[in-house]
């Protein structure tokens, strides 16, 4: 099984996210993560999907999504040309002594402490999915009370592959 990330620019129409996720269910594709948010131009939404499957399936995924009426543009975010980020919020049970340790681990990973309670600590950490996995691995000895991961968002490096809204409107 291979993994690929896709950047999809879609018209900001009602139900667009459900059309895309529905396509994955219908055709039996595997979705690893999906994130969506408005672009700088509110007419469009950027969706980042990480999908898994064999090469033929991944090629089909790109073609089938590209065929959807609401989809303006789809391209693969190749690892060597792109930057990926994911955000995780981790609530850990922590007494006074645990807090000191946790804060120093978080510092190493450039995480932020965003909430402190008498018995808990909330850490925000941003990075590639593997960085977040590594950080969670370090918390093995602690009790994670709650974990929220946003899923992966990605962009191409540089300006060569920028998708300009003006160019999309012609399609």
């Amino acid at each position: 099984m291979n993994k690929k990330a896709f950047q999809i620019i879609v018209d900001n129409t009602p139900g667009v996210l459900s059309r895309i996720s529905g396509l994955f269910t219908r055709r039996g594709y595997n979705i690893e993560s999906i994130t969506a948010g408005e672009t700088a131009d509110p007419r469009f939404t950027r969706i980042t999907i990480v999908a898994s499957g064999d090469d033929e399936t991944l090629e089909q995924i790109e073609k089938q999504i590209g065929k959807l009426t609401d989809v303006r543009d789809i391209r693969e975010l190749k690892t060597d040309e792109s930057v990926f980020r994911e955000l995780a919020m981790i609530k850990v049970r922590a007494g006074a002594k645990d807090k000191t340790n946790l804060i120093s681990i978080a510092n190493v990973f450039r995480g932020n402490i965003i909430d402190v309670g008498p018995e808990s600590l909330m850490i925000e950490i941003t990075g590639s999915s593997s960085k977040i996995d590594a950080f969670l691995h370090l918390l093995d000895g602690y009790e994670i009370l709650e974990l929220a991961r946003t899923g992966v968002a990605g962009l191409f490096r540089g300006i060569d592959k920028v998708v300009y809204p003006a160019n999309l409107l012609g399609k």
């Binding site: 529905g22 269910t25 219908r26 055709r27 039996g28 594709y29």
Partner: protein
């Protein structure tokens, strides 16, 4: 044992005796396995009607109806039937064959994403990936369909899953679902509040819906309102919860309802909504209904409560259970005699709309009234959708032990004939009559083949006016009477010849005929038969 054989075993374990369906390549393994079972399959003529037959069957059996069809077009044809059952909360278990698992998503022959397509019309659906899950899924499907607010559940089974060997077949005793736990018993504190309000009420009224029959609470409700002298109105789905001739019954509410029923609701100081949705056709302005009264809403589905109107007291639970709980307390009601007298007066003062029919035609109001009075006391009556439905709600008298069924929420034309056939198979001991217009009849007349083949014993009344009458009424009121798309043609079909073609009995009644005589021979004949009734196309509900 393979997956298909396990599915049959599961159906047997659920006590299924009969199912409705249509075969095809993707469902062949199932029907092959069914050969060695006592379950009787009924081969319909179009899949939609398999769902309607299962619906009629379920409503008379009080258990989920089962329909089994093939993949692709077989499955998509089922959709209208599923949506119809969903709108009226009828329990169905619908099984569809699916293409081989590895091909799903590649648009092979007769592939349709049926779980995706029915998403908004089912309580739940399954696409079975692993044959080992089949017993659990079948158990859950029946449980979900038959518990809480009833409804259809769909199970989509790829052919390779049906062919797969089951390592260990065990049909579970119990359902273990963390996410689905319907409330059956009413909350004690809420019941106490309901009783307090009932004791304060001077002008109480109960509005019953389809939930009463679905939860098997007709006896409980009648006993309650008779004991405490509470007048009753109903929604369309609630017709028959009270006998039409009961002193305490004041007819159907809503746009198509009785003016005195609506007035009764308007002037009450306590409205007890029981197993009804407070839907748009029943209540014109739901937001205004609570202005001058206490509203108690009792329903098994918490999402219905407060959806259209905010109740003063919500009470979640199965109607039968809730009223058995309420019955445990002695309630000291005020005297409602004066209030009931007022409502009786409203009813008496209402001028009945009487025949507008020309001499050549049958007076449809008198006809329906006479039909209902001449039918067996425990007969089952299924009306279709259109003018025939609205007339039936007004003029058909449901007797103490009679049943009245129709497609209420979805208003699916063509429901009556297959549903009546299903009902008659569930209760062959009861007389079953379907009533439809000539539009609805032609939507499901292919099922005359099924009825003839399986020796169906139902009477079909066709109100013939060569017109889509209900649409014509909309055109009259909103489109300046510019008739379009409502004319069914004058001379075709010849219903007598159709009856002959299927070996069915046939009678014709027009304005010159003897109604009593025609009804006598129609109602006393055996086997499937048709009574064609000539109705004035200008008549309105």
């Amino acid at each position: 044992m393979n997956g298909a054989q396990a599915m049959v075993k599961c159906l047997e374990a659920e006590g299924v005796e009969r199912l409705y369906g249509y075969s095809g390549a993707a469902i062949c393994p199932f029907y092959d396995a069914l050969l060695s079972s006592k379950i009787t399959p009924v081969l319909v003529r179009q899949e939609q009607n398999a769902a309607h037959m299962a619906s009629g069957y379920a409503r008379m059996k009080g258990r989920a109806g089962v329909c089994v069809v093939t993949s692709g077009p077989g499955a998509t044809n089922l959709i209208t039937g599923i949506a119809t059952a969903f709108a009226d909360s009828i329990p169905l278990v619908c099984i569809t064959g699916q293409v081989v698992s590895s091909m799903i998503g590649s648009d092979v022959f007769q592939e349709a994403d049926i779980t995706g397509a029915v998403e908004s019309f089912v309580k739940y659906s399954y696409l079975v990936r692993d044959a080992q899950d089949l017993p659990r899924i079948m158990k859950e499907a029946f449980y979900i369909a038959e518990s809480g607010r009833r409804g259809p559940v769909l199970i989509d089974v790829p052919t390779d899953v049906m062919a797969c060997e089951i390592k260990k077949y065990v049909y579970p005793d119990k359902v273990q679902m963390r996410t689905y736990k319907p409330t059956v018993e009413g909350n004690g504190a809420q019941i106490a509040k309901v009783i307090r309000e009932l004791e304060k009420a001077e002008r109480p009224i109960m509005c019953v819906g389809g939930g009463v029959a679905l939860s098997g609470a007709i006896d409980e409700i009648r006993a309650f309102v008779r004991k405490y002298q509470i007048p009753v109105v109903s929604t369309m789905m609630g017709i028959g919860a009270m006998p039409s001739g009961d002193n305490l019954y004041f007819g159907m509410v809503g746009n198509n309802g009785r003016p005195y029923a609506n007035r009764a609701v308007g002037e009450s100081d306590l409205l007890l909504v029981v197993g009804a949705r407070v839907a748009d056709r029943a209540v014109n302005r739901p937001d205004l209904i609570t202005e001058n009264k206490v509203l108690i809403h009792i329903d098994v589905d918490p999402a219905e409560i407060g959806k259209n109107v905010g109740p003063t007291i919500p009470l979640v639970g199965d109607i039968r259970h809730v009223f058995r709980q309420i019955d445990k307390s002695e309630i000291h009601m005020k005297d409602h005699a004066a209030w009931i007298n007022t409502l009786c007066e409203y009813r008496l003062r209402t001028q009945e709309v009487r025949a507008k029919a020309g001499k050549a035609y049958v007076d449809v109001r008198a006809f329906l009234e006479t039909l209902s009075l001449r039918m067996d006391k425990n007969a089952v009556f299924v009306c279709d959708v259109g003018q025939n439905q609205i007339w039936s709600t007004h003029y058909f008298k449901v007797s103490e032990k009679g049943r009245f069924m129709t497609s209420g929420g979805m208003g699916t034309m063509g429901y009556a004939i297959p549903a009546a056939f299903g009902a008659s198979q569930a209760r062959p001991d009861r007389q079953t009559i379907a009533l439809c217009g000539d539009g609805g009849f032609q939507m499901s007349m292919c099922e005359l083949g099924t009825i003839a083949q399986y020796g169906g014993d139902i009477g079909i009344v066709i109100l013939r006016n060569n017109t889509l009458g209900m649409v014509m009424e909309t055109i009259h009121s909103l489109y300046d009477s510019r008739a379009t798309m409502v004319d069914l043609g004058k001379d075709t079909p010849d219903y007598k010849k159709i009856a002959e073609a299927y070996g069915m009995g046939y009678e014709m009644l027009d304005g010159k005929g003897d109604m009593e005589q025609a009804l006598y021979s129609f109602l006393h004949a055996d086997g499937a038969r048709i009574l064609e009734v000539s109705v004035d196309p200008r008549d309105r509900v």
